[in-house]
Amino acid sequence: MTDTLTLDSAEASRAADGATAEPAREASSIEMQGLHKRFGRDTVALAGVDLTIEAGEFFTLLGPSGCGKTTLLRILAGLEEADDGRLSIGGRDVTEVPPHKRSVNTVFQSYALFPHLSVRENLAFGLKMLGIAPREREARVARIAEFIQLGDLVDRRVDQLSGGQRQRIALARALVNEPDVLLLDEPLSALDAGLRSQLQVELLRVQKRLGMTFVFVTHDQDEAMVMSDRIAVLNGGVIQQVGPPREVYEHPANAFVARFMGHANLYPVSARDGDRLTTPLGVLSAEGAGQGELLLIRPETLDLLPGDQPGENRLPATVGERLYRGSHAEYRLEVGESTLQATVNNRGRRLPEVGDRVTVTVAPEDLVTLSE
């Protein structure tokens, strides 16, 4: 806790009486081994989680509600105790360390700002509890207020703040303690879309500048992809896949991950002849698609040609439904007995209408297979 925050922006350096930016403090890694958690007799929240989060990573726990992501975050914070397994942060075993003795801070979904304290006192709360002297407390609060660009918000009362402002105060209140790890429990879910994307950018900026390890919980796969260095997708208390956003999106490990990432075009592969896969849509040739028994066709890899134009990896289809979205259009196509979803960019060409006969084409290298 002796290091100071790195404020490597030009304005912050000037603010810090002309001193040059200090090097980033050592970020901490997180190691989880065999974490189990049960609530009551029947509810399994975590069924054996092994996970390593690298130092300085923006790591996201993604999954539907009840998948265990929040439980996992609360175990990291020490607010929940695992029934079994070990947890270490920065190489130190903290499995049984209570929350007030962990160098970990949380940005709560409800922000949890103390109503009996001013914004400034809220920001200084952690430092005060740590026994930091008032003079240093003030300096650090001022520094974080500058860094998060809180401006005159620090002099307001908590009940005078809007949702977005509360969110930023909650972030500053956690960061001012310079924790080894910052935990964020769906911190943006209560905000409207515009403010949300603005704060996503701000969170990323903060994380990159501080080089701190961030563990972020969300159920929103778009948010996860924008923010994360790596994503862990959870379901039923089990990690389904861990990887960078592109890998999780383009090569989902299983049908659950594929569906959760928004893919609906999954077809069983009934026969396989080298690279030629037999599916309910017809026979398609794939390149490096893997050995899974499910074929995934991402909607944005499809192209629509007018009329019947037979050929390799071309499927005759009828437009069943079209959702016009301006920049692109989403199609539901009927291919024999099956349906296929396609996303087509609006490049000013004619967009096929409902009832039109079209030919769907897909490149062999865009096809992937996965297991159930």
Partner: protein, 265 residues
């Protein structure tokens, strides 16, 4: 047209209710300033009865007893009720409904039953152990028992109104259990505590029945003194005491209300 008639009717009813509630009090206040000792006609304004009060040692000692009883019992009830309120909050998910009913039973029990029970109990304990000589001590115990449920309820409802993650935020921000109490819980429920204290205070000052059954010869409170004095007829002096009590209770009740308002804000 009919709407306006209805509105006028309701406004009239409101004033009628207010008059019904406050006219008797107004009569007492008015006659406390009566120059003569007639209870029938107001002959002129005078501080006479208030001066006479100040010279009456029985009244002064009854006043002192009332204050000691109200303050000491309220402080004790605040401490115990606060712990019970927090306990109820902490274990609100468990099935403890019957326990809460137990705590609330004294409120719905008729005062006279409660008072007689307390008296019988103290008499028995005194006979067996020599403790609990009837007096201020037994009165304080009796008052604390009926104040606790009110304190517990006010504290409990304050905690229930809080975002539960605040407790976790305090832990997360390095507050040890003791620091959580000092820097988070107590300051957060402070308005509730002030409100509960003044409510307990007014309940104690107001109480006659339970005090009457648990008092000793030396520990008459103002209500008990009034009751004794009134057997000899209503003197204007009693009106003056009553007026002072109305003032004191009104102030305490207003303070209690002010802080319970703030608690909701």
């Amino acid at each position: 047209m009919r709407k306006r008639t209805l509105k006028r009717g309701l406004t009239g009813f409101w004033w009628f209710t207010l008059a019904f509630l406050y006219l008797p009090l107004a009569v007492v206040v008015l006659f406390s300033f009566n120059a003569s000792n007639s209870a029938a006609s107001f002959t002129g304004f005078s501080w006479r009865w208030y001066h006479q009060l100040m010279g009456n040692e029985q009244i002064l000692s009854a006043f002192a007893n009332s204050m000691v009883l109200a303050i000491v019992s309220s402080v004790i009830a605040l401490g115990i009720g606060c712990l019970i309120g927090y306990g109820m909050y902490r274990h609100r998910h468990r099935k403890l409904g019957w326990l809460i009913v137990l705590i609330y039973l004294p409120i719905v029990l008729p005062d006279i039953v409660f008072g007689i029970s307390e008296m019988a109990f103290f008499v028995q304990v005194h006979r067996l152990t020599g403790l609990f000589q009837p007096g201020l001590g037994t009165m304080i115990i009796a008052h604390v028992t009926f104040q606790i449920p009110f304190v517990a309820l006010i504290v409990y409802s304050r905690f229930v109104g809080l975002d539960p993650t605040l407790f976790e935020a305090a832990k997360d921000l390095y507050a040890t259990p003791a620091k959580r109490v000092i820097h988070f819980m107590l300051p957060t429920i402070k308005p509730a505590l002030i409100s509960a204290f003044f409510l307990s205070f007014t309940l104690s000052v107001d109480d006659f029945v339970i005090s009457f059954f648990t008092a000793g010869p030396e520990s008459a409170t103002l209500p008990i003194y009034i009751w004794g004095a009134i057997k000899k007829g209503v003197s204007p002096e009693i009106n003056a005491i009553a007026t002072l009590m109305i003032g004191a209770v009104a102030i305490a009740a207003i303070i209690s209300l002010m802080f319970s308002r703030r608690r909701q804000a």
